[in-house]
Amino acid sequence: MGKKTGIPSLEAVDLHCVRGERKLFGALNFTLRGGELLRIGGPNGSGKTSLLRIACGLLEPTRGEVRWGGENIRRLQEEFWRRLVYVGHANAVKDDLTAAENLNVACSLTGIGAQPGRVGEALRRLGLAGCENLPARVLSQGQRRRTALARLALSDAMPLWILDEPFAALDPVAIDCVQHLIAEHVSRGAAVILTTHLEAQIAAATTLRIDLEAN
């Protein structure tokens, strides 16, 4: 199914990452095409988040480069970011805004024009029915994570998702829902990168695995 789409591939070429004095990983290569899921594993502190930050262009690799459709992402900049959804460790949820307002802001920053109706629908899909108009201050950690992830339900047109520990703080029902969203997206022919400690059950035609070593 992945072959039919014209989604450019994400290519990591000879990536090295040194943070401070510590070498996190070196000589890392992978190619991710549309319709593929890349799972990055490894113990705490092995560089999973750094790898994701390099893959989305927040962090410059010590050596090597990441290419999107053959072009270095650090040259492509907005051209690449316009196609990317990144959900990091931090939820990017503001205490003083309601869940719906937070989702609206996140969508317009990512460049997804979200109609008001769809925002409510996305929140309900993540099990936040009734919380749409509550300030995020009163939401639990898991509910904030769900608010951050609700963006995925509106990002079906984005060809690349990069998710850092998407299942952290979520209950089994929500994990199931997010796994379903990811599987659906991959089957649509898009590419997804995620880190997780869970043995997540995501149905994907091709699952690549990178396991980083402790150092």
């Binding site: 410059e60 907005e78 990091g88 990017a92 503001k94 003083d96 805004l97 920053l109 460049g111």
Partner: protein, 222 residues
């Protein structure tokens, strides 16, 4: 793209309204500092009239520096800044929108209240316009220059002191020209030259500062 900019401005204003104590702190600081001078210096009208533009300008400068640290701090802490860096809109424009929203809540109130404070100094009424106009043109320049400094010191320990060291030398020309406008008007020279210079500074800063701050943000987020 415009949707994203409007959304950022709207969001920042909304946050300022819901957390109005932050805004009021800056305004109150400005009012208190300016009001203390006549009390400390004594009731000599001629002296007060002379120092009025300088005192108001220095207080406005300090107040705007007090507000600077908040410009990116909360977005940095909760991860929104990462989303802005990886957004579909060029970061320079997002920063421009944020600076505009920041000035609307921390700079514009100072401009609006300054005529009332100038009366405490018996500042001649016919020149109030020049004073207000100089602040109106000058305080956005302070916010724009400050954005670069805040972006550079983001997430540093002791960033506040470093920010002051970085930004103050760049503030000095704005202060000299800004306070000079009202003084020149009072002394009969007319403040047009200074106001035009301030306007030029504003245009220059508005064109370049957001992009410089955007580069600084990318460096501090690495």
């Amino acid at each position: 793209m415009l949707v994203a900019l409007r959304c950022v401005i709207h969001r920042d204003l909304l946050l300022a309204v819901r957390r109005s104590s932050d805004v009021l702190t800056v305004l109150l600081f400005f009012v208190i500092v300016v009001s203390l001078f006549p009390l400390g210096i004594g009731p000599d009208p001629a002296l007060l009239r002379t120092i009025a533009p300088g005192v108001i300008w220095v207080a406005a400068l300090l107040a705007s520096m007090l507000a600077l640290q908040r410009m990116f701090a909360s977005d940095h802490a909760d991860g929104t800044l990462e989303q802005m860096l990886l957004g579909a809109t060029p970061l320079g424009m997002i920063v421009g929108a944020k600076v505009l929203a920041h000035w609307l809540v921390s700079g514009l109130p100072l401009v609006l209240i300054s005529p009332a404070l100038a009366l405490q100094f018996d500042f001649p009424r016919e020149f109030l316009g020049t004073l207000v106009l100089s602040l109106f043109l000058g305080t956005p320049v302070l916010s724009l220059i400050g954005a670069i400094g805040t972006a550079l010191t983001l997430g540093l320990r002791g960033g506040g002191a470093l920010l002051a060291l970085l930004v103050l030398p760049l503030y000095v020309p704005v202060l000299i020209i800004g306070a000079g406008a009202a003084e020149a008007a009072v002394s009969g020279l007319g403040g047009q030259a200074q106001l035009l210079l301030l306007g030029a500074l504003l245009v220059f800063a508005a064109a370049f500062a957001p992009w410089a701050a955007a580069v600084a943000l990318r460096i501090s987020m690495e």
